[in-house]
Amino acid sequence: MSGRLDHVLHFHLRVYQVLGFHGLPLPGDERPRRTRQLLRAWSLFLLLALSGMVTVCLTSNLDFLYRRDMFGFVNDALKYVFSEVALLSIYAETMASQRALARFWWLHGKLSRQQQQQQQQHLGCRLSRPVSLQSELLQHRRYLISLYGILAMEILINICLWQVQPSDIHLTLFWSTFEPLVFLMYLRNVQFVLHMELLRQQLAQLERELCLLAEYSRFASETGRSFRDFGHFLRRRLLQKQCVYNDVHEMYSCFQRAFCYSILAVLLSIYVRVAVDCYFMYYTIYIEIANLDYSLILPALIEIPAFIYASQSCMVMLPRIAHQLHNIVTDTGCCSFPELSLQIQNFSLQILHQPLRINCLGITILDCCLLTRIACSVGTYIIYTIQLIPKLSNQYW
C-alpha cells in the first residue's frame, strides 16, 4: 500500500477537505475531477457564508461588539476584520493555488515510495509489509499532539467559561460568532504544522542516511577495510541524496507557494487577537468588570509557538545535514578518492544555494527569534494602550 497515504494523513486530509482547506481529491477516490470541482464550490460556499456572518456582526446594532467605550469597540472590530482577512486568504488560496499543493503531495508520495523501496531492498524482499497504525501515530506524534492538545484545551476552557461566566448578551453573541472563526484559523494553523512536519520527516530521513554514509566512510578509513570502488559507491549514494535534497527543497518551495498568504494572514490575526485580548484583560481588571473571557487567549497563546516550533524544527535540520555531509571522510584508508570530495563540495554548495527558510512572503523568518520580537512588541503596545486608558475613560464616559 505504498502508493496510498497512510491512515493518519488520509483521515486528517479528509477533515481538511470537509473544512474546505484541502482542495484536492485524495488518492483512491474515483472521479477526481468532479471531486475537485465539488471541493472548490464547497470552499467558495463556506467563504461566502462566513463572510456574510462577519459583515452582519460588524454592521448590526445588536451588541456583537463591545459597546461600552470606543476603544473596546474598535478592538472587537479589529478582531473581526482581521479574521475576515484570514478567511479570505485561506479560501482564496484553497481555490487558487492547487497546483503547488498537488505538486507537494506528489513529491511527498514519490519520496516516501523511494524510501520504502530502499527499505524493502534492505530488508530483503518482504514486499508491502503493511504499516501498523501505531507506528504511524508514532511517526506523526508531534502533529497529533499539537492538534489534539490545543483542541482539548480550547474546548475545556470554553466549558469552564460557560460554567463560571455570568451570561451576558454581548458575550454570548460575540463568542457564538467569533468562536467558529477562531477554530477555523486554529485548524488552518495546524494544517501548516502538518505540512511542515512532513517536510521535517523527509529532512530527518535524509540526515539519517547521510549519517550512515559518514559511519561507513569512517569505518572504512579507520580499519582500511572496504570493498572495491567503495568511493564510487559512496559517490553514487551522494548523488542520489543530492537528487532527494533537490526534491525536498522543491517540496519546501511548493509549501511556501501554496500557503504563504494564509500563513501571513492567520499569524497576523492570531497576533492581533492576542494583543487586543491582553489589552482587554488589563482593562477588565482596571475597571473591575467580572469578565473572564480573556482566559480564551490561552490557546491562542500556544498557537503561534506551535507553528513556530514546527518551522524551526524544520529549519534546524539543514545545518545538521551539512554537518553529516562534511563528516564523510574522503580519503578512505585503502584509496584516496578525489571525486568523492568533489561531490561533497558540490552537495554543500547546493545546500548553500538552496537554503530552507520558512518565511511568509519573505516578510520575516519564522523561527523562535520571532517569538521574542512578538512578545516584546505585545508588551510595548500593552504599555501604550494602558497609558491610554485613563485619558480614554474620562473622555468617553
Binding site: 563540495q345 544555494h353 518565511n359 521574542t372 512588541s377
Partner: protein
C-alpha cells in the same frame, strides 16, 4: 518565451526594450519628467540628453511648485482660522506634511535631470544583454511589457481621478473659482507615480532576464533527462519501478490529476510533453517564475522528443562549459545593471518610502481626528471621508509595496539560477561538469543583486515588517498626544496651562519630523534580540 516566438524572432534581431516604452515616454515627456530628446527616441529608440528638454522640464517644475504654493495659500485661510480655533497640533503636522509631496516631486525631477545621460546607457546595456542571451538561444520577448505599462498607467489614472473627483465633489465647495486649483493637488503624486512606473517596469524586465536564464538551464536539464532515457532505453522499466508498487487506479488518478492541474509536475519530472500550458493567472503568484519556466520547458518538449532527443548539450562538458560560462557572465551583467539602476533611483525611492510612511500615518491620524469632529488641515480633507481615505491609502501603499515586492522577487529570481545550475550538475553526473558547476556556483554565490534605499535599508519584505510596526506605534503615540491635548484644552477653561498644550503640540510635531525614520522604535532599538 516559447520556442515558436523564438523561431519567429530569430531572423529579426532582438528588438530593444525601449520600443515598449513609447507611450510611457510620451506621457512623461509631456508631464515633464524626462529631459531626454523626443526626436531621437521616436526615430531610433534611444534616450539622449537634450538641452531643450532640460529647459522644458525645469519650467514645468517651477510651474508646478508655484501652482502648488498658490493652492496651499488659497486653501490656507481656513487653516489660519483653524489654527486659532482648533488644536495647533494637527495644524503644524498638516503644514509639514503638505510639503512632503512637493519635496518628493522635486526629488524625482531633479534626479531625472541629474542622470538623464545614464538612463540611456542603462537601456543600451540591457539591449546588449539581450543580444548575448540571444546568442545563447534563449530569447526574451518584451512584447507584454508594453501591456504591463498600459495597465499601470490605466490604474494610475483610475486612482488619481477617483480620489480627485471624489474629493472635489464631496469635500470642496466649488462655488468660488479658486476651487479649480484643487486639481493641482494631484500633480505631485501623479508625476511621482509615472517616474516609479519607469523604475518598476525596468526592474520587471531585469527579472524576466533572470527567469530566461533559469529557464534555459531547466531546458538543458529536461533535454538531458530525455537524452539519458533515450540512451539507456529502460524508460518503461524505470517508470515501472515507480508504478509497479501501486494500485492502478491511484496511478491513473494521479496522471489525470496532473494533466488536470497543468502538468508541469509530470512534465519536468518525467519529461513527458503531454501537458497544457499553465494559465497566466497562476504565473503571477509567488515563485510564479518557476511555473512559467518549467511550463515552457514542457511546452517545447514535443519537438525535443521528436528530433533533438538524440544529443543533449550536457553530454559533452567542454561544449556546455562555454554556454554555462556565458550564462553566468550574463547573470552577473544583469546584476550589475540592477545595481546601477538602483543607484540611479535611490533618492527617489528613499523619498517615496518616507512619503508613504508619513502620509499613511498622517492620513490615519487625520481620519481619527475627523471621527472626533476635530477640524483637520484643508489639504487632507480627503481624510474626512473614510471611503476616499481607503482609496488613497491603497494607492500610496500599493506604490510602495509593489516596488518592494518586485525587487524582492527579482533578487529571488537571481538566486534561483544557482539552483538550476546545480540541477544541471546533478542530472549529468560527470566529474568534469561537476568541477565546472562548483566553480560557477561559487561565482554565483558572490553575485548579489539587492536593492537598498541609499544603504539605509534594503528593499525587501523585511522592511515591511518594520514599517508596519512603525506606523502602528507612531499612530498610537500621536493619538495619545492628541487625547492629552484635548484634555488640556478642557483644562484651559478651568486653569490656564497654555504651556502644556503648546508643548504637546510641539511634541507631536517634533516627533513627527523625526519619525520619518522608517524603522520604528519597536523593531530597531529595543525589541530585536535576534542574532
Amino acid at each position: 518565451m516559447p520556442q515558436v516566438q523564438s523561431e519567429s524572432s530569430s531572423e529579426s534581431a532582438v528588438q530593444p526594450l525601449l520600443q515598449q516604452f513609447q507611450l510611457l515616454f510620451y506621457i512623461s515627456k509631456i508631464a515633464g519628467i524626462l529631459p531626454q530628446d523626443l526626436e531621437k527616441f521616436r526615430t531610433k529608440n534611444v534616450l539622449e540628453k537634450s538641452r531643450n528638454g532640460m529647459v522644458y522640464m525645469l519650467a514645468m517644475l517651477i510651474v508646478y511648485v508655484l501652482l502648488y504654493n498658490v493652492l496651499i495659500y488659497s486653501f490656507g485661510e481656513e487653516d489660519r482660522t483653524l489654527k486659532a480655533s482648533q488644536s495647533t497640533l494637527t495644524f503644524v503636522i498638516g503644514l509639514f506634511l503638505t510639503y512632503i509631496g512637493l519635496i518628493m516631486m522635486g526629488t524625482d525631477q531633479l534626479t531625472a535631470l541629474r542622470n538623464q545621460g545614464r538612463i540611456g546607457e542603462l537601456y543600451e546595456r540591457i539591449r546588449q544583454v539581450d543580444e548575448r542571451l540571444y546568442k545563447e538561444k534563449c530569447v526574451v520577448d518584451n512584447s507584454h511589457i508594453g501591456g504591463r505599462i498600459r495597465f499601470m498607467l490605466i490604474m494610475t489614472f483610475l486612482f488619481e481621478l477617483s480620489i480627485l473627483l471624489a474629493t472635489y465633489i464631496k469635500l470642496v465647495d466649488y462655488s468660488q473659482w479658486m476651487s479649480v486649483l484643487w486639481i493641482v493637488s494631484a500633480i505631485p503624486t501623479f508625476i511621482n507615480t509615472l517616474d516609479k512606473i519607469w523604475f518598476a517596469v525596468s526592474l520587471y524586465a531585469l527579472k524576466e532576464r533572470f527567469e530566461a536564464i533559469n529557464q534555459t538551464l531547466e531546458e538543458l536539464v529536461a533535454t538531458h533527462e530525455k537524452f539519458k532515457r533515450w540512451l539507456c532505453g529502460d524508460q518503461e522499466t524505470s517508470s515501472r519501478a515507480l508504478d509497479s508498487s501501486q494500485p492502478p487506479e491511484y496511478d491513473s488518478n494521479l496522471e489525470y490529476l496532473y494533466k488536470e492541474l497543468g502538468g508541469l509536475d509530470m512534465g519536468s519530472l518525467k519529461g513527458s510533453g503531454r501537458n497544457k500550458v499553465a494559465p497566466v493567472s497562476h504565473s503571477m503568484n509567488s515563485f510564479g517564475e518557476s511555473i512559467e519556466a518549467s511550463d515552457k520547458a514542457t511546452h517545447q518538449a514535443p519537438p525535443i522528443s521528436v528530433n533533438m532527443a538524440h544529443e543533449s548539450e550536457l553530454s559533452n562538458a567542454s561544449k556546455v562549459e562555454e554556454k554555462l560560462n556565458n550564462l553566468c557572465q550574463v547573470h552577473d551583467e544583469i546584476c550589475e545593471i540592477g545595481k546601477a539602476m538602483n543607484e540611479l533611483w535611490s533618492y527617489p525611492i528613499l523619498s517615496l518610502m518616507a512619503y508613504g510612511f508619513l502620509i499613511f500615518t498622517a492620513q490615519l491620524y487625520f481620519l481619527y481626528c475627523a471621527t472626533q469632529f476635530q477640524s483637520i488641515p484643508s489639504l487632507f480633507r480627503s481624510a474626512k471621508n473614510p471611503f476616499i481615505t481607503v482609496i488613497a491609502l491603497s494607492y500610496t501603499s500599493g506604490k510602495c509595496v509593489y516596488l518592494i515586492y518586485l525587487s524582492w522577487k527579482t533578487s529571488l529570481a537571481s538566486k534561483r539560477t544557482g539552483i538550476s545550475l546545480h540541477k544541471c550538475g546533478v542530472v549529468a553526473d560527470d566529474n568534469l561538469l561537476f568541477e565546472i558547476v562548483n566553480h560557477l556556483s561559487l561565482k554565483l554565490l558572490n553575485h548579489s543583486v539587492d536593492f537598498s534605499a541609499c544603504g539605509f535599508f534594503t528593499l525587501d519584505m523585511e522592511t515591511l515588517y518594520g514599517v508596519s510596526g512603525g506606523i502602528t506605534s507612531y499612530l498610537i503615540i500621536l493619538i495619545q498626544f492628541n487625547l492629552a491635548a484635548q484634555q488640556a484644552k478642557e483644562a484651559i477653561q478651568t486653569f490656564n496651562s497654555l504651556n502644556d498644550t503648546a508643548s504637546l503640540v510641539g511634541a507631536a510635531t517634533e516627533m513627527d519630523n523625526v519619525s520619518s525614520t522608517l524603522y520604528d522604535l519597536v523593531t530597531t532599538t529595543m525589541l530585536t534580540p535576534t542574532g
